[in-house]
Symmetry: C2
Subunit: 479 residues, 2 copies
Amino acid sequence: MAKDKKMVESITSMEEDFAQWYTDVVRKAELCDYASVKGCMVIKPAGYALWENIQKELDRRFKETGVENVYMPLFIPESLLEKEKDHVEGFAPEVAWVTHGGLEPLAERLCVRPTSETLFCDFYSKDVQSHRDLPKLYNQWCSVVRWEKTTRPFLRSREFLWQEGHTAHATAEEAQERTIMMLNVYADFCEEFLAIPVIKGQKTEKEKFAGAEATYTIESLMHDGKALQSGTSHNFGDGFAKAFGIQYTARDNTLQYVHQTSWGMTTRMIGAIIMVHGDDSGLVLPPLVAPTQVMVVPIRQDAEGVLDQAVELMNTLKAAGIRAKIDDTDKSPGWKFAEQEMRGIPIRVEIGPKDLEAGQCVLVRRDTREKQTVTFTELADTCGALLTTIQKDMYDRARKHRDEHIWDARDYAEFCDIADNKPGFIRAMWCGEEACENKIKEETTVTSRCMPFEQERLSETCVCCGKPAKKLVYWGKAY
Amino acid sequence: MAKDKKMVESITSMEEDFAQWYTDVVRKAELCDYASVKGCMVIKPAGYALWENIQKELDRRFKETGVENVYMPLFIPESLLEKEKDHVEGFAPEVAWVTHGGLEPLAERLCVRPTSETLFCDFYSKDVQSHRDLPKLYNQWCSVVRWEKTTRPFLRSREFLWQEGHTAHATAEEAQERTIMMLNVYADFCEEFLAIPVIKGQKTEKEKFAGAEATYTIESLMHDGKALQSGTSHNFGDGFAKAFGIQYTARDNTLQYVHQTSWGMTTRMIGAIIMVHGDDSGLVLPPLVAPTQVMVVPIRQDAEGVLDQAVELMNTLKAAGIRAKIDDTDKSPGWKFAEQEMRGIPIRVEIGPKDLEAGQCVLVRRDTREKQTVTFTELADTCGALLTTIQKDMYDRARKHRDEHIWDARDYAEFCDIADNKPGFIRAMWCGEEACENKIKEETTVTSRCMPFEQERLSETCVCCGKPAKKLVYWGKAY
């Protein structure tokens, strides 16, 4: 049974080598595989099912705010990409270029979309005429391509899946309101659905999106103390509108430029789930996003009645709206347990001949490994409640871990010491100059993650240069 | 109100110019728009909502048969595309080539996937080892690119959205069973969900997919009498498995090649919905696929109580699981009716001051324009039943139209006469030689659509050459 063997060979421990542990989990939980094109992924059923659940929930939350889905082309003509100066400077070095269609060379090169601001702007410039056409609240689910040099599954790949929202508004206020609204949708989604606590804030000038007036971000902390940018929301002001000529006739009959936003979340959130919740036995999935929530494992399934009862338990769970499966393969219970753990399925139900006699089964939590015995009639209710508990406990645990890995630095020596010795976020004051960000990055590999919405004054001077401090910043080593 | 004006200007009538009518409906029902890249589409909210409903229903039907979703890369290295000889010959002339990544030329050209057989085969060659790994029942939802010379919205575009299923099986029998199973899923989906009757059959050698042993198709008939290939399912035998070395260890420990299938359905089905059901007032949507099923239109909404009651009616409908909306804009009732008709919303509910007094409202069917008056308390039940009736009636009407446009030809003169004068399918016997298909195509622009599963013998000789007939074939002019 070559396949079982692969599964149960122990994976590298997190403490020993976090990067290798991550790769092992990605591979052994069968989330994705490398493709024949360098830096591209094959997302396998277990990984894609996570993405489907993320999509479904995010899409529902978007639509509740009035967003509609559309689809823009995969290709951007070079001349269109070049219309907004900052934007093209940011993206041109990392796009893939199509030069031939069929057997003919193209008159103009097309880039494979790295993001679709230019396409939406081109469309809005024709589609928006009157204030009655506003706001436009469009989103698309698609793949994008960025020719990255170093890649890692889910975290950084040359092609990835995402959603990109692009809105156009009559006023600057409305655009700003939408920018923050969508950041909040992301934050709530991460905390409530993925059980990942986040810090909300604004990116510095240096770290903001190419072409944006302001970029807002949610930042989460992985188990190894590194930060992951988990969702961004940009306010473009009227910069793109001016570059693309997107104007509308206002109520007072004057011609005005629209104000725009964009916001995106990607398949890298699968990486976040792995790195926030996983352990040395593999993946640990928050119940809400788990494609399978309960795995029923018959013990001695050849014994009379065991398999039938196991199937009945699964059906009872399904009838209660729980995503349950049964592992009735001919593998040993030990293999089945290891597989269920590797795949991060939140609850395992064990049922053997003795349990059958007693009218009960054993529940095992994936996150804590706690066991409890319940009667068949209690099973569905207990599982339902337990899934809610697990979801909450996983958030609390991740939150505790995150909070225990936030360090305050009041001077540069302290900053460097933390950067060297204490994984996590560093909170420190900053003067607002890019020079300090550059110096810090060069000397410590730490970057500014965000200026949090909840500002405090830890000290009066910049942690780097000693000049008067303007902002509290979260710093961190990032994926 | 420039926007209203656009909507209500009459569209070209179907009888006058069907192609122009189609383009008018696509544009005025706001389904899609042209993009800055020639031959590519912007799918607008009304069009994309149709695709979302198609996706949801098809995906549910796929999963019921055990299919799992995955995601393969967008790019195919040239050497990979070339592995299966017939396949590359079929597709190489119409693919888009990426030659540069970032600022560097690539060592090997990458084509943008026109279809993903080669990627799935490359993956299976590594992932399949034992009979325990089979069957693989994978599907993906994505966009594909084919560099077509002439394009039409939804029907033929350089980029389109689709799903492509790719399965691998231990035996030839299993592969054949899956090929037909998925064709039946497509046929049932079209008939039950889109209210489009189809003819199931096998493609001739000339018309089959590049690299397939056999291609099966469902063919539907548009209102103008032209055929539309609406879904195909291919049996590859072990041809790709041999080209890519996809082998598994069987139970008896011998090394065997897998047998494969693929099957796809695309956004062209939106075109089919338009051309099967539409009329001179615009789109007519089958209730099951309609994003909005009932539009409530208040008449004199400024009159006391009207708007409140209209909102309440909408809420009652929603509570009953019906997708209802209200048009409470300041447009005139006439504009609102025209818009609802253009967009093909199955039922309109009209409510004015007099209705309010009488405790009733007026239902208008989009398909037949029949009106009926119902009390507020009857509304939800009546609408629910009416949606079911409309769905059935639309299928029956499309079926009747299709059946009235099937003509039997027993000799070549009759065949040519029908081709010239009677739009629709032509049923005629065929000797099995490609030469006859070529001659017919050249002389009449008619192509073989399929050899239907339900075979009959209309005559003993080929309609073209007079040699002994082998198969009954459906012929037609096709999109």
